[in-house]
């Protein structure tokens, strides 16, 4: 079985201006949405209130959830812990309210489910952790991007390909975050991991295409750069699609069978894989081309003349 039995020859580079336009629109919409609406951050980031409560009999978590929602708490998370009679409630931050005020609202909701219910502890958890994670993530990502830029520049001999790779690597996660900002899917720590994986995929794709570009330039130095890029992308197209289909099989399985906890995670991966395929074709190579990439940059002639002078 083969997707493309004969080598394809789509003129990818000819239409690149159209795709630039599309990407710019997507980026602007994503960034605008992120700036104005932000992300629907899960309690992992926002902090909030955690309540431990004990019931005389098995606690009905659904009823507790409904009562809390009726009492005006947005997205209450209720789960058993320790035993079936103990529950743990997590509430989003209650702006400015003191523990006593929150307690006064939570208690009647619990008593309405079971008069014997009592609050064991109620803690307001600070959001500092989110801030620290953001900082460490920002540092880690900045360093990663710099290293990638350096490595590609070293391996491929030109900053033009590095720039293309970095733009693609930023493009994909921004798009994922944009979608999360628009469709309001809860953004939790698992989604952060998925976004990192998206960066990984995007990079992998881009480097594979670059590798072929290097090879094609080596074989046919005289060919027009745009034609070489087209040829490279076409030659790696069946691999690109094959790899994406395989990964998508796993991700779709997670989306369908993984349960609600993995929803945001698999959604982010799926969007990222699609975006990654697109960006490795239209963004990374196209940017290198518009930066004036030629065979000369990857294989400078200096070396060759030196060899020619050898006796």
């Amino acid at each position: 079985m083969e997707f493309f039995h004969k080598p394809t020859s789509f003129p990818f580079m000819a239409t690149r201006k159209v795709w630039y336009g599309l990407s710019i629109v997507l980026m602007v919409v994503s960034i605008a949405s992120l700036a104005t609406r932000g992300l629907n951050l899960a309690i992992d980031f926002t902090g909030g209130v955690t309540v431990e409560a004990a019931f005389p009999q098995t606690a009905n978590t659904d009823a507790v959830r409904a009562r809390l929602a009726a009492a005006g708490f947005r997205d209450p998370q209720v789960q058993n812990f320790g035993s079936s009679r103990d529950i743990m409630i997590r509430l989003p931050p209650q702006g400015g309210e003191t523990s006593a005020e929150i307690s006064a609202k939570v208690e009647p909701a619990l008593k309405a489910v079971d008069p014997g219910a009592e609050i064991r502890s109620l803690d307001v958890v600070g959001p500092q952790v989110g801030g620290e994670l953001e900082r460490s993530a920002a540092w880690a990502l900045t360093f990663t991007l710099l290293l990638i830029f350096g490595y590609i520049a070293f391996r491929f001999n030109t900053w033009r390909l590095s720039l293309g790779a970095i733009v693609a690597v930023i493009h994909d996660p921004v798009l994922v975050l944009g979608v999360f900002s628009i469709d309001r899917t809860s953004f939790d720590l698992a989604v952060v991991a998925a976004v990192l994986a998206v960066v990984g995929y995007s990079l992998n794709d881009t480097v594979v295409v670059f590798d072929r570009i290097r090879e094609r330039f080596h074989v046919s130095r005289r060919m027009a750069p745009a034609a070489v890029l087209d040829q490279s992308i076409n030659q790696t197209l069946s691999r690109t699609i094959m790899t994406k289909v395989v990964t998508a099989i796993v991700v779709v399985a997670l989306l369908v069978f993984g349960g609600p906890v993995l929803r945001g995670f698999s959604e982010a991966l799926l969007i990222g894989i699609i975006a990654g395929t697109y960006s490795s074709i239209y963004i990374s190579s196209a940017i290198a081309l518009d930066c004036g990439l030629t065979a000369e940059h990857i294989f400078p002639t200096v070396k060759k003349t030196a060899v020619d002078h050898m006796p």
Binding site: P7, Q79, G126, L133, Y151, A193, A197, T247, G259
Partner: protein, 624 residues
């Protein structure tokens, strides 16, 4: 003919055999369990094991197996529901002598357990447990140090007959926190003489003379490196203490690690009773031994608020009565070498042993003060959050109470008993004294209890989905690349086994972000095979002979595979080093996964293909 060196086959076989061995415990999995530890840490006997078994049967709790492991009693259960039932039952009878914790017990056969092989641990998000993040008040460590220095400087200046107005702590050189001391001088003092004394007393100080509107002053400032060193030291000491305390709790596979400059993160898998644990971990409790001042009138001191010189006013813990104690401390909790809990005729008792120096002091004190009373002061510091002007302020509240004052009946030195507490307090005090005191206070920043039911549900669904997805990939690869697809499937399987073995070996917990890492790794491993096979197909299309196509496919795909994996490896390593929490969890799996997938795709795949097609003289068509 295709050839592949024999040593490579041997290497691959050896690595795989080892990997299977290490991955085996993970395949067996874990059961929900209860762990029991004696509160005084004596090993649990077989007799106790039998009585617990009998008790559980009486209460008709179903358990799978009990066994003793390093003096701990582990009870395995078929389900979480039975585990919780068992916990309630065991707690009702045994909790006063035993620490009882919810835990997990590996299902591995005893032989593998003896080899020390453990299953890959699961993160808290997957298996449930208690997560605590502490903020360490490192600034107070610097403050303590500076306080000590300013005492030394005062003493040295007085000793050198140099007059000064005051010694205060200052934040110099635009530092956001206190980092030095300032000696204010009255007019006419020899500032350079003071400077020399300060510099000699505290060699770490950078000393300078200041001319202020109020007169001249000498300032000693700790260089930033010294400040950081001190903060680091305090954090490390707290880390050690927390580790000791967690170990005392007897929790299986605890994680206590430093996070950033001033945080410590504690993960206790399976632990559900957070209040008790939190209380014990964050407590700053210690003891002081002082002589009672029998000359002064404590009631008068309480009314006027002024204790006579050389004494300090305290209150009795039980009655609240005032009592005057001498300022000199005979010994403190830091000078204890061991502390254990016992029940004696005097009620709950903590038996303590002092180190040599404190023992000598105690001997001298008791010899000179026979028939005079000595008091034991129990000091507890705890963070208390109060609201001041609508803002939350966490302050350290120090609670000092005299728990016992008894007449010295005989001379003793380094071993004695302390009474005057209830059983719970005595047990906790023994534990806290044993595990060492915290250098500086900690504040809980975040705590999170993850329910085991949620954890179990998560992991079941996640793993089911992963298995379904992988099965889909296997089938698809076999259809798309036929025999070569099956080779890729085998290689992929080997990759998962290797990764599992590595995670189990490094004892690195697998969490949800880790699963993301596995998916990315599987994607990259598949990609490596796809790159090779697509290359082989290309070569075949160009009319190259099958065996030459195989060789060219592997050789030409190498640079693409290497470059894309090395770039990803960079990302993995940077995120591992700089990231925290979920980012690190992801990076660990990614980094290990890239290593295993490079190995399996490049070496394993080639070995298998060579084995299949290398020997034959002529192949008309490749099943690819």
């Amino acid at each position: 003919m295709l050839e592949y060196a024999r040593w490579k086959y041997i290497l691959i076989a050896a690595v795989l055999a080892l990997a299977v061995l290490f991955a085996l415990p993970t395949v067996f999995g874990e059961d929900p369990a209860i762990q029991m530890v004696m509160r005084d840490h004596t090993p649990i006997s077989v007799a106790t094991e039998h009585s617990v078994e009998q008790f559980l049967s009486e209460r008709s709790v179903h358990y799978t197996k009990t066994y003793l492991d390093n003096g701990r009693l582990m009870i395995r259960f078929p389900s979480v529901a039975e585990q919780l039932k068992g916990r309630d039952a065991v707690t009702s009878k045994f909790s006063d002598q035993y620490l009882i914790a919810l835990s997990f017990a590996p299902r591995v056969p005893a032989a593998l357990r003896m080899l020390g092989l453990k299953p890959m641990p699961l993160g808290l998000d997957l298996r449930g447990g208690l997560y605590l993040l502490y903020q360490v008040d490192v600034q107070s460590a610097v403050h303590q140090l500076l306080e000590g220095y300013s005492q030394d400087v005062r003493r040295a200046l007085t000793g050198a007959n140099l007059s000064f107005t005051d010694v205060t702590l200052v934040a110099a050189n635009d530092s956001p926190q206190q980092n030095g001391i300032r000696v204010s001088l009255p007019a006419g003092t020899n500032a350079s003489a003071v400077r020399d004394v300060v510099a000699k007393t505290v060699p770490d100080f950078q000393v300078s003379i200041l001319t202020l509107p109020s007169g001249s002053a000498v300032q000693g400032v700790l260089p930033p490196a010294k400040v950081r060193e001190r903060e680091d030291y305090a954090l490390e000491q707290n880390l050690t203490t927390l580790r000791n305390r967690v170990n005392e709790l007897g929790v299986a596979e605890p994680i206590v690690q430093r996070q950033g400059l001033d945080r410590i993160n504690v993960q206790l898998p399976g632990v559900q009773n957070s209040a008790e644990v939190k209380d014990l971990l964050g407590k700053v409790a210690t003891l002081e031994f002082r002589l009672v001042d029998v000359n002064g009138n404590p009631f008068e001191a309480q009314q006027t608020g002024h204790a006579p010189a050389g004494t300090k006013l305290y209150h009795m813990k039980d009655t609240g009565q005032p009592i005057l104690l001498k300022r000199e401390i005979i010994a403190t909790g830091d000078e204890l070498t061991t502390a254990s809990y016992a029940t004696t005729q005097q009620g709950p008792t903590v038996n303590v042993r002092l180190d040599a120096r404190a023992g000598e002091r105690m001997l001298e004190t008791t010899r000179n003060n026979l028939n005079r009373p000595m008091a034991v002061v129990y000091i507890e510091k705890r963070p208390e959050t109060k609201e001041v002007d609508g803002k939350k302020v966490t302050q350290l509240v120090t609670d000092e109470k005299v728990i016992s004052d008894a007449t010295i009946r005989g001379v003793f030195s380094n071993t004695f008993d302390i009474t005057g507490m209830n059983a719970g307090e005595a047990r906790d005090l023994a534990l806290l004294l044993r595990s060492g005191s915290l250098a500086v206070p900690l504040y809980p920043v975040e705590e999170q209890v993850v329910g085991p039911s949620l954890g179990q549900d998560n992991i079941d669904k996640g793993i089911d989905a992963l298995v379904i997805g992988m099965a889909g990939v296997f089938v698809f690869m076999a259809i798309y690349y036929r025999v070569f697809g099956v080779v890729a499937d085998l290689v992929l399987l080997a990759n998962v086994v290797l990764l599992t073995a590595l995670l189990a070996m490094f004892h690195s917990a697998l969490s949800l972000p880790g699963i993301a890492g596995i998916i990315l790794t599987v994607g990259m491993a598949v990609d490596a095979n796809v790159l090779i096979y697509e290359r082989i197909r290309e070569e075949l299309r160009n009319g190259v002979s099958p065996q030459a196509a195989i060789r060219a496919g592997f050789d030409k795909a190498l640079s693409a595979i290497a470059d894309s994996n090395i770039t990803a490896l960079f990302a993995g390593v940077v995120l591992w080093v700089l990231g925290t929490g979920p980012i690190r969890g992801f990076a660990v799996v990614l980094t290990l996964g890239i290593a295993t997938s490079m190995f399996t795709a490049l070496m394993g795949s080639r070995a298998l293909v060579t084995l299949l097609y290398g020997g034959r003289r002529k192949i008309a068509r490749l099943p690819i």
